[in-house]
């Protein structure tokens, strides 16, 4: 008995000791905030990882932007139809033959410390981004020579040359920060902004428990919310690194909305649950096969067209996305309806036709193994992307019918990205993440100078450069659209890439508790834009 007693004591001591050690981890909210009174409505949202950087000018993380977007206003927002809509800016226009972009601001936005949001805040944000080359907005400000704020509600960007989607790009991507808080911080490339937050969005961070939750309190002045402030008094982000756990938490009522989309294969699990509703949005990117023009054979338009005819996109959409995706013809996603190019048709799936085309172009199967002698390519992809990996398998099988031999070169993500960066592939199978406007997309993907590092074709074509630069400097909206549609057509004819599909994202929320979300396309912000959160109302 004595032995047993000692064991019990030892176990008890062990438990007490570990509890004691971890005691210091308890109650570590670094600002105050606790206890929800019954009159408060708390909207709890699942996120996948901690905020890595609270400085909105610097952060490059998607999940950071979910929280930061609700705090720091942007001049423009993206609406349900992928169009830019007014947010802090009431309107924008170009002057001086497109060399000056003018934003007119609303006068009723307020920082949470009571000060108004003024043109000087916008000027300060832009100038600091340029000075310290912060985040991904720095590239969008390349053409800016100076920023002026002639009065409290007018901001003028003087450009070195006209660039048609300048205002859209900067308006959507650039966060506006409070000058009176950020200026005293000095070097903004080193400013962590990790406490005492002041924001002008519908919600402002109040306390953080790292690894667990982020509590945001309502800003009492938010003019874009019906009634001048959000109906929800508090937004709480909870961290679930595993999406399966997050789905269980939603079903269990621990959270009310998943910030991250539900995987297609898992969407069915919510079918029997009448509380949970799924909201479907389109993507701002798309999956594609892109051909390396440095490869002697892929530089041949006939080969690229034959490859495009050897991809069964319809079968891919039904097998990989369970039918939940759209086909594309050219490189401009159908989500941008104003650039709709209906006369363009995707290459038909016709392996025999592809074979005939290649024979006509002089390619031969000398050893009679069923494959054209020279036409053997590697298809590189990121093996952590299950959809794309499956696409590569299907592509490999269908291309074989056209006499083209493909090797599956799907590798670990970092290796893949490094190979892509160095141009070490024949065919790149991947997914573009977010293109918020076609002009930026065409510049990044086809300009010889490769400004964004994603010209995966490694294309150096004087003709394409001229077409793109000409469109970029066009300020007349109709003329601009015509030029973009023409580039779309040229890329399609050249078959520089084979677009595979635009997938849909589905966001799940508890419709028995909240309603009114305004979903934006893609998983960039999805349901958690500042505007959307400001429209949410509790279900009575």
């Amino acid at each position: 008995m004595a032995v047993k007693g000692r064991w019990r004591l030892a176990v008890a001591l062990g438990v007490v000791a570990t509890l004691g050690v971890s005691g210091c981890g308890l109650n570590e909210d670094n600002n105050s905030s606790s206890g929800n009174s019954s009159s408060e409505t708390v909207l709890r949202i699942g996120t996948t990882t901690d905020v890595s950087n609270f400085n909105p000018l610097q952060s490059l993380s998607k999940t950071d932007s979910w929280i930061l977007n609700a705090m720091y206003p942007h001049l423009l927002r993206i609406d349900e139809n992928a169009q830019k809509a007014p947010e802090l800016a009431k309107e924008y226009r170009y002057e001086d033959d497109g060399k000056t972009a003018v934003f007119v601001l609303r006068d009723d936005f307020k920082w949470s410390d009571g000060k108004p949001v003024v043109a000087d805040d916008v000027k300060f944000s832009a100038e600091k981004i340029m000075e310290y080359k912060l985040g991904n907005v720095a590239a969008k400000l390349t053409w800016v020579e100076s920023v002026e704020a002639p009065d409290a509600t007018t901001v003028k960007f003087k450009l070195s040359q006209p660039y048609a989607p300048f205002a859209e790009g900067v308006g959507f991507w650039m966060a506006v920060v409070p000058k009176h808080i950020f200026e005293p911080a000095g070097d903004l490339s080193k400013f962590a902004n990790d406490s005492n937050w002041v924001g002008a969005g519908p919600f402002v961070l109040d306390s953080v428990t790292k690894g667990q939750r982020y509590v945001m309190k309502r800003n009492e002045h938010y003019p874009l919310a019906p009634g001048g402030k959000a109906a929800v008094s508090q937004v709480e982000y909870r961290v679930y690194p595993d999406v399966n756990t997050m789905m269980l938490a939603l079903r269990n009522g621990d959270i009310d909305l998943m910030g991250t989309p539900v995987p297609i294969s898992a969407a069915k699990t919510f079918e029997g649950d009448d509380k949970i509703k799924l909201e479907k949005v389109g993507a701002l990117g798309f999956a594609h096969l892109t051909y390396n023009m440095k490869n002697k054979y892929l530089a041949d338009q006939q080969v690229r067209q034959a490859l495009s005819m050897a991809v069964d996109t319809k079968a891919i959409i039904s097998a990989v996305l369970q039918g939940d995706g759209q086909q594309m013809a050219g490189p401009i996603s159908p989500i941008f309806s104003e650039y709709d190019n209906t006369e363009l048709q995707p290459y038909p799936f016709d392996p025999e036709g592809a074979k005939a085309k290649l024979s006509a172009a002089g390619y031969k199967d000398g050893n009679n193994d069923g494959f054209f002698d020279e036409l053997s390519f590697g298809v590189a992809c990121d093996q952590s992307n299950a959809n794309i990996t499956r696409v590569v398998q299907l592509f490999r099988e269908s291309a074989a019918k056209a006499g083209i031999k493909l090797e599956n070169e799907c590798v670990e993500r970092n290796t893949f990205l490094t190979r892509t960066k160095n141009g070490e592939y024949d065919i790149d199978a991947s997914q573009w993440g977010v293109f918020d406007n076609p002009m930026d997309q065409l510049r990044s993907t086809y300009l010889s100078s490769n400004p964004g590092g994603i010209n995966y074709n490694l294309l150096e074509s004087a003709e394409m450069d001229a077409l793109i630069n000409d469109a970029a400097g066009t300020t007349d909206p109709e003329e601009f659209k015509t030029k973009i549609k023409n580039i779309d057509k040229v890329v399609h004819e050249q078959a520089y890439l084979t677009p595979l599909y635009v997938e849909n994202f589905q966001f799940a929320y508890n419709a028995s508790k909240f309603t009114g979300f305004v979903a934006s396309p893609s998983d960039l912000l999805g349901m958690v834009t500042a505007y959307s959160l400001a429209q949410v109302t509790p279900v009575k």
Binding site: T18, S22, A192, R238, T245, M246, N414, T415, T418, G452
Partner: protein, 317 residues
């Protein structure tokens, strides 16, 4: 004794140095760099170069290594690339949670493993032994994340007995906070224990069977000692020594298992920190966390060795 402790400490320092060096170079051998994964597009090569310069990754490898060691000796683990915060702060923030999780699992594995191992040994060959052995072997084959998800689905979502993820309800205070802490701890600990228990109980059973056949146990029987006293006092004391070494070794596995468990259970410990840092190639955080793990495992093993020497009179120092 002093000589033993000194040589053991020297070996420990050497092991940690090797761990630090290999982590440092292995991370940098990985394809890509921390900017590779940041954002696709819109990041000009100049911006990438500027970021790499900020991180000090543009310098020659040996120079980075020397300056890293120099800082390390002064107790400085560096600044996280992503979080712009000292790595030491980031890790210390998460460490208590992993200690709580792994510590509780460690204690519970011993507390449950011993009776199981002993009972199986005493009932050798009977149905109880067979059942316990069957359990031990199947537990050995379990994979932490699958166990974790199954537990979550069944006890969390279906029955609703336990919360889905998290470590504590941050709104609770005082006793409520401790209760919430314990409530959140049950499933993650259970999944770790289920995986650890098999090898531990089986080792103990084998040792125990061996020990129970020894002369001194029969002598004790002849002296008229009760079966309970023979097994628990004389038998277990000797059988537990190899099991102790096993536990020391398994501490590493336990912390490794915490990476997966913490990720599935959204538990805010060092394991999840590692998972996130690897995804972002945040070298300083990965290095810091690995150094901490290496130190923990080396320290635990050194401690086990010394404890072994103290407990086992056959080893004279």
């Amino acid at each position: 004794m002093l000589r033993f402790v000194l040589s053991r400490a020297l070996k420990a320092v050497l092991t940690v140095w090797i761990a630090i060096t290999s982590t440092f170079f292995l991370l940098r051998l990985l394809p890509g760099d921390p900017t590779t994964l940041m954002v696709e597009g819109d990041m000009t090569p100049e911006m990438q170069a500027a970021l790499l310069k900020t991180y000090g990754l543009d310098r020659p490898l040996w120079e980075q290594y020397v300056s890293y060691l120099r800082e390390l000796i002064q107790g400085n683990l560096g600044i996280s690339f992503r979080q712009i915060q000292p790595v030491t702060d980031i890790i210390l923030d998460r460490l208590p949670w992993t200690l709580l999780l792994a510590g509780s699992a460690f204690v519970l594995t011993i507390a449950v493993g011993i009776p199981i191992g002993v009972t199986a040994a005493v009932n050798r060959g009977k149905w109880l032994d067979r059942a316990l052995q069957g359990f031990g072997i199947s537990a050995n084959a379990l994979f932490v994340p699958s166990v974790a998800i199954l537990l979550l689905v069944f006890f969390g979502a279906q029955l609703g007995w336990f919360p889905i993820g998290g470590a504590i309800d941050p709104d609770t205070r005082g006793l409520g906070a401790y209760l919430s802490l314990a409530h959140h701890l049950v499933l993650p600990v259970l999944s770790l224990v289920l995986v650890q228990l098999g090898p531990y109980a089986l080792t103990l059973r084998t040792n125990m069977i061996e020990v129970l056949g020894e002369d001194y146990i029969r002598a004790a029987q002849a002296r008229g000692l009760s079966a309970r006293r023979r097994v628990w006092k004389h038998g277990l004391r000797n059988a537990i020594l190899p099991a102790l070494t096993l536990m020391g070794l398994q501490l590493g596995t336990l912390v490794g298992g915490a990476v997966l468990t913490e990720t599935v259970f959204a538990y805010p410990g060092v394991g999840r920190l590692i998972y996130e840092a690897v995804g972002q190639q945040d070298y300083p955080v990965i290095q810091g966390a690995f150094i901490m793990l290496a130190v923990t495992v080396v320290f635990a093993n050194a401690l086990t060795d010394m404890l072994y020497a103290v407990l086992n009179p056959r080893i004279r120092l």
